[in-house]
Symmetry: C2
Subunit: 245 residues, 2 copies
């Protein structure tokens, strides 16, 4: 597995032929489906032709497996890191959710091909790989369900889970955005998706349009407005939430 020339640095270095193949394969798979792409096309996309790929991968399935397992691992690891980081600094669930949303948006914008594959070609994997991917997916969902459930205690878990999946669908719509007019830029797209996701989750509280939190017994922490508002542009880290813990 570790065929990096210099193993001294644990950095993600090595833009090797292998990585080049993975990137092009991801693009092609996302465009035309796993079965719709031949190995000759993948080879041609990286300058070599046909079976030369077998010097780097055991087979076509192995490429897909590595792509799907990789993206699942990165998604979950990134989400977990964000949850841990935000929690350890005393942030409330609203800020944690905001961080999860931002992280997922980054994934959806940077690796839109992989995000597409992620729920498209799962059935083509060997049982062991599919199990691993599903497990990682489940864990990732659990991160969200946990946070959203804490943010909306009145909603049942099934409802929260469904809402999380729905917001995934919303955020993963990035592949459909590039065709016609395209958004001004990445920043604007990210800001829009962020607003939409927050707006969707905000509707869980009930009526949705209620801007101020419950005027009765909200203990000045966990301001409900934060979870809905946030017209964010840049300024990634100021969630304006004064340490609910």
């Amino acid at each position: 597995m570790n065929d990096a020339p210099t193993r001294t640095t644990p950095a993600p270095a090595a833009p090797t032929r292998r990585e080049q193949i993975l990137r092009e394969a991801a693009r092609l798979f996302a465009e035309r489906g796993f079965h719709g792409v031949g190995v000759d096309e993948i080879g041609a996309a990286v300058g070599i032709s046909g079976p030369g790929l077998y010097r780097h991968f055991a087979g076509k399935d192995a490429m897909l497996a590595e792509l799907l397992v990789g993206i699942s691992e990165r998604l979950f690891a990134g989400g977990q890191r964000r949850v841990v980081d935000a929690t350890s600094t005393g942030e409330g669930p609203a800020a944690v959710l905001g961080s999860l949303i931002d992280g997922h948006i980054d994934f959806a914008l940077d690796d839109r091909a992989l995000i597409t594959l992620h729920d498209r070609e799962l059935g083509q994997l060997r049982d062991s790989d599919r199990k691993r991917v599903r497990s990682l997916q489940r864990q990732y969902v659990e991160l969200w369900v946990d946070v959203v459930g804490r943010l909306h205690p009145d909603s049942g878990e099934a409802e929260v889970r469904a809402a999380v999946h729905a917001v995934f669908g919303l955020l993963n719509s990035t592949p459909h955005l590039g065709r016609p007019g395209a958004l001004p830029g990445r920043t604007a797209t990210a800001a829009l998706l962020r607003r939409l996701a927050h707006g969707a989750f905000a509707s869980l509280t009930d009526g949705g349009p209620a801007p101020a939190d419950t005027p009765a017994d909200t203990p000045a922490g966990t301001p409900a407005g934060t979870s809905a508002g946030r017209p964010g542009e840049e300024s990634g880290e100021e969630t304006a939430e004064p340490s609910a813990g």
Copy 2:
């Protein structure tokens, strides 16, 4: 359902072998992808085996084409009908959007397999069919963009278009909802999706939590709460919006 042998009614009768094949093909295609399903499997799913399908369809491609063109036509026709109906009765854009959302939810829940295929296997179609499907998709999107744009005049068209696509992604998440715990029932799922979609669109106004639209010249009609709130269960037609025009 309507499998009456009497052809007197112009109803969508005739649950013929042909329709049976289409239904099973849709299910299988959605499960394992167009290329991942063999004609023998489709045949077996309807009781006949293998090439017997060619008595009913010109080929495998023809089945997919009919499925995709059909769903696109029904989606657009349904959307257009809802827009025309609501508009002709003097409803405002908020109510029209609500009707569009409800209609799309019905599609997403009833024909989740087709909804999945809709943006998955488009590349497998012949050019003419693909063009037709894309055109219908575009027209359908345009219905939404038109209404949402009228509802949020401050948002640019590109932003509105992206938001519409994102909400499609949200509503089309139904295939991912059935696995783990599943929602209580269809009604609850529909209500949740409706709330989430309205919540997402509500965030377009800006901060999102602002319930009333322009506080200056709103003539007591067009209560903005309708566009966001709506905890609706049944009672499909009472959007409580007395002719904003």
